[in-house]
Each structure stands twice: as C-alpha cells, then as structure tokens.
Amino acid sequence: MIKRTGAVVEFSEVTKRYGALTVLKPTTLTISAGEFFAIIGPSGSGKSTLLGITAGFVELSGGEIRVDGTDLSSVPPYHRNLGMVFQNYALFPHMTVAENIAFPLRMRRLGKAEIQSRVERVLDMVRLHGLGGRRPAELSGGQQQRVALARAAVYDPLLLLMDEPLGALDKNLREEMQEEIKSFQHQLGCTVIYVTHDQHEAAFMADRIAIMRQGQLEQIGTPRDLYERPSTAFVASFLGEATLLPVTAIAAGNGQGDLQVRLDGGVMVRASGQKAAASSDVHLCVRPETIRIAPLVEGLDNIFAATLEDRVYTTGSVRYRVRLHAAPHLLTVRVPTYPGIVLLEPGQQVMVGWNASDALLVTGS
C-alpha cells in the first residue's frame, strides 16, 4: 500500500473584510503535503478566520485557496471533503458515538456493512472500542475529543483542520492528547492545520508554526527557527519568554554577524543579528535561559554586575530578575533546579553574562 501523504494547501492573497474592517490582510502561504502546521496568535489575530475560510464557513473577500491544485473558493463546505475538529467537539448529542462517526459515511452513501466496519476500525484507532453505543454526554472530555477526531477522520480526508481542539481539557490530559493526535496524523497520513493560542502546544506538535497578529502573518518557521531567530519583538515575546532591551545605537563588531549595540542608558553590548538603523522599534532580545550567573560567567561576551530583585521557584526552574548596575535594565534569568540547589537571595549582588550569539536584534513593536 502506498503511504498517503496528505494534501498541499496554497493560500494566495487570501483576504477577509467585514465592511470597512479588514480581519485578514492579503495572506499568501503554502502548506506542504503531510505537514503539521500550527497557527498561533492572540484573540482577534485572524487565525480562526483563516481556518473558517479553509473550511468554507467564511466567504473570501479576495484571493484564492487551492487544495492539491483545486481552487476551493466556490466549493461549499460540504463538498470540500476535509475534516474539522472543533474546540467544543460539536458532537451530535442526539446520536450515539457510533452514529456520530457513521454520519459522514452515511452522507457519502456508503453501504451498511462498509460503514460498520469503518466505524469499528476507527473506534479501535482512538481506543474507544466498545463505547459505540454510548451517548456523547456519557463520555469524559478526553473521550469526546477522540470521538470528534474519529468522526473527522473516518472518511480519510487529506486535510484535517483543528480549532483549539484541546482548549477545554485539563493540562495532563492535554499533553496526552497532543501525543495521540500526532500519532493519529501519522497513521492517517494527512495534512493538519492546527489553530491554538497555546505556544507550548504549537511548538510540541507542529512541523512549522505561523504566528499571526492583527490580521496578518508575523513570521513562519519551525519551532526552533521562531524561538532562536524571532524576526520581531512580538514573535520573541509571544513564543517563550524574552527580555527586550531598548537600543539606541548599532555598529558593526569584530566578528562576522557580530554587532556592537548601545542600550538605552549607555551600556555597550555585543550582539548578533541583522544590522539596522537604531530606532524605538529595535530591541535586543535575550532569552532567560541563555543568561548565566556567576561563577558561570567567565569567558562570556557580555558580563555585568547586577542586583537580584526577586526570585520565583517554579517546577523545574527558578526565575530570577536582576537589575544591571550600569543602566537600570531589568533582566529575566531562568536557571534549572535540582535537589540541593543553593538559591540566591533578593538583594544579593551578582555577576550576570551572556554570549553575543544569544543576544539578537529584533525589529517591530
């Protein structure tokens, strides 16, 4: 059997306006076959609109969507042959689990025996064997989520859309379901577009992530790309933690891609990234886990004296905030914990440091 790979989805200049309000600015994007593509962004950033356009609920104001080369713009939702999983599951409460899963097959006029065997097979796949006779209301949240997944996948769509499918579950269950959805996609062989506001979820599951903001794509890339090379301050602070320091001047440094940056308050820092004209839009981004605290600072490109302002112990790491002596910037530092770790006390004088490669210039507000 040939392994299925899923559909290629191409958005070109896709736009949505409601009257004078543009909720989705012209957006061009190609998602490859079999890709797990996550879209994240704050509420109102246009991520759900993009999904609604793909499903066919939201009419386009301009542009085109093609799935495997076919233009979907004038195809109604019920002929698009894609699967969708909703945040509230959207199971039919008046039907049993088996009837819910059989529904898309009935709509496709499959035979009774065929329907039954397919329902059984997919129930096994989502580990709900024997629960076909139950009503959705008699299942737990996680089980309902699996029914929704089974129902959206039983007719082998090449494209699966998910709209915050795990938003209603508690944390442990959510992490379990993340693994399950990943392996489910692998068995099924389909492309997934996954909308979420949870950056950890997106980073864990996705091959590539698109970050949306105010109706447009801010940056697209692998989780690693976005985390290590955010192109804007927004991306830097949306994905993971970041300390953003205002920059007043930028000059070329010694090494390749190496920059000399003057921070607000006059401190000189060695940094990396694209050289740009300094403005209020330019910031230096430093991730909390890349900042070291003495005695681990020796040999680092940037070393400063600082005062420890506060300390929060969380599971797995300690978050310190330190204020530089040279200029009153507050930096966030995250240090992994282990049994017996000696914690620093607020008020203590410390040396902190980081490498030029870990301090990245970012633009945009």
Partner: protein, 275 residues
C-alpha cells in the same frame, strides 16, 4: 432576632403567593360545580347535582359542529404557524439577516398587541378578498396569532446549543437540507412540537378573531359559548366550558411532558456543546 424576623417575612411572602394563585385559579374553577348543577340557570352555589347539562352538551348539534369547526380551524392554523414560525426562527437565530433584533420584535408583536387591533385590521382585508366567514379567513388570522408562539419555542431550542454542531455537519458532508434533517430538526423537535400544541390550544380558545371572521357555518366553540351567553344562560355553557378547559389543560400537560422527557435526555449534551 433578625433570623426569626426574616422567617416571618418569608412566611408572609409564601402565604401571599398562595393567595395570588388561588385568586388566579379559583374563578376558573367555579365553573366546574356550576356544570353539575340541577338548576336550569347559572347560579352559585348549585341547589343540587345532575349530569343533565353534559347530556345536553353531548346531544347538541350546534356544539358538535362548533367542536368540529374548532378542530378544522385549529389544526391547519397550528400547522401553518409551525411551518412559518420555525422558518422565521431559523432565519433570525441562525441566519445572517440584517436588523434581526427589530425583526424578532416584530415576530412577537401579534402576541403582545391587543387581538382586537388585529381583528379590526383583518376584517376589511378579508371583506375585500371576499372570504369573511369562510375557513381560510379565520384560519389565516389564527395562524398569524400563533406564529409568535412557535417562533419563541423554536428560537429557544436553537439558542440552547452551539451553532458549531451545524457547521460540523457541513464539514462532514451534509448539504443544507441534510444538515436540517439529521441535525437541526432533531435538536429543535421539542420546540416545534410544543409550539404546535401551544398554537392549537390558543386557536381552540380564541374568541375575538372568531367573532369578527367566522360565520354561523364556521363558528368555533368559544364563539358559540359567547353567543349562548347572550341569549340563554343555561348550565350547558358551563358543561361546554369544562370540556374545553379539560381539553386545553391536558394538551398543555402533554406539552410539558414532551418538554421534560427531552430535557432530561438532552440538556446534558446541549450543555457540553455550549462550553
């Protein structure tokens, strides 16, 4: 100290509520002993008991025709109201209609406006159409009056679950008709049935439009009762009223049962859907 004061106030409120209920129901129930009276006129309390007025009612050709008329008018009127009320609710709750708030208020208007206003308005139109006194005249009038009842019950059912259920049906391959047939209709069925029952009982009890729009050939039970009240005050009227009352109440009980049996089976599911 304040605790006992509140208890006294609370008891006072409960007693007041009971009095209000008695005040509301008792005048209606006075008719029941009257219908079993042995006297030949309406007087309270009855001097003795008999079933003669029920016999009179059962043997009266006028009443038989009137009951038949009420059914012939009530069922099609309720059907029309159910079809159009359901469509209106679908359009205004789920559809993308401009000015849906104003339109929703307009849908309820026939229920709030005095019926006499509608009657006076309809009468000249029906005259012009030449159908005053015919079945279509009163049937259409009642359909207009009952439409808000269906609109309200069906709109409430539609609002009880998240619209994403219908969107889901569409992504799964159901065209608009199949989405309605397999998903929307089962979800709102109770609202539709209860709306139909309300409409029928409303039409069955309605007097003012019946006075304006029916003829002796199409007169309904309430109109016949009203005419008899003007000419002959015999307890047959009481007997007929009690029959009407029992019929209406039992239909309302059916409506309540339909509502409850579905509520216990579905509310949980609908709530899940709404989270």
């Amino acid at each position: 100290m304040t605790g006992s004061l509140w208890r006294v106030v609370g008891t006072g409120f409960s007693a007041f509520a009971v009095l209000v209920l008695i005040f509301l129901v008792l005048p209606t129930l006075v008719i029941v002993p009257l219908s079993f009276s042995s006297a030949t006129f309406l007087s309270f309390p009855p001097p003795g008991w008999s079933l003669q007025w029920y016999e009179g009612f059962a043997n009266s050709l006028d009443y038989r025709i009137a009951i038949l008329n009420s059914i012939k008018i009530g069922i099609p009127a309720a059907l029309l109201a159910t079809i159009f009320g359901t469509l209106a609710a679908l359009a205004l709750v789920r559809g993308n209609v401009a000015g849906r708030r104003a339109l929703s208020a307009l849908m309820i208007a026939p229920l709030i406006l005095p019926q006499i206003v509608l009657a006076i308005g309809l009468f000249p139109i029906m005259v012009k159409l030449g159908i005053v006194g015919s079945y279509p005249a009163i049937l259409l009038g009642h359909a207009v009056l009952c439409l808000p009842l269906v609109f309200i019950t069906v709109a409430a059912s539609l609002k009880s679950y998240a619209p994403s259920i219908e969107l889901a049906a569409m992504t799964l391959g159901a065209n608009p008709w199949n989405t309605f047939r397999f998903v929307t209709f089962p979800m709102i069925r109770v609202g539709v049935v209860v709306g139909f029952i309300f409409s029928f009982t409303f039409s069955f009890d309605e007097l003012i439009l019946a006075i304006f729009l029916t003829s002796p050939a199409t007169r309904t039970v309430p109109r016949l009762l009203w005419e008899h009240l003007n000419y002959q005050m015999t307890p047959v009227i009481a007997a007929a009223t009690v029959v009407l009352l029992v019929l209406t109440l039992s239909l309302l009980v059916v409506a309540a049962l339909v509502n409850r049996s579905s509520a216990s089976g579905r509310v949980r599911g609908a709530n899940e859907g709404a989270t």
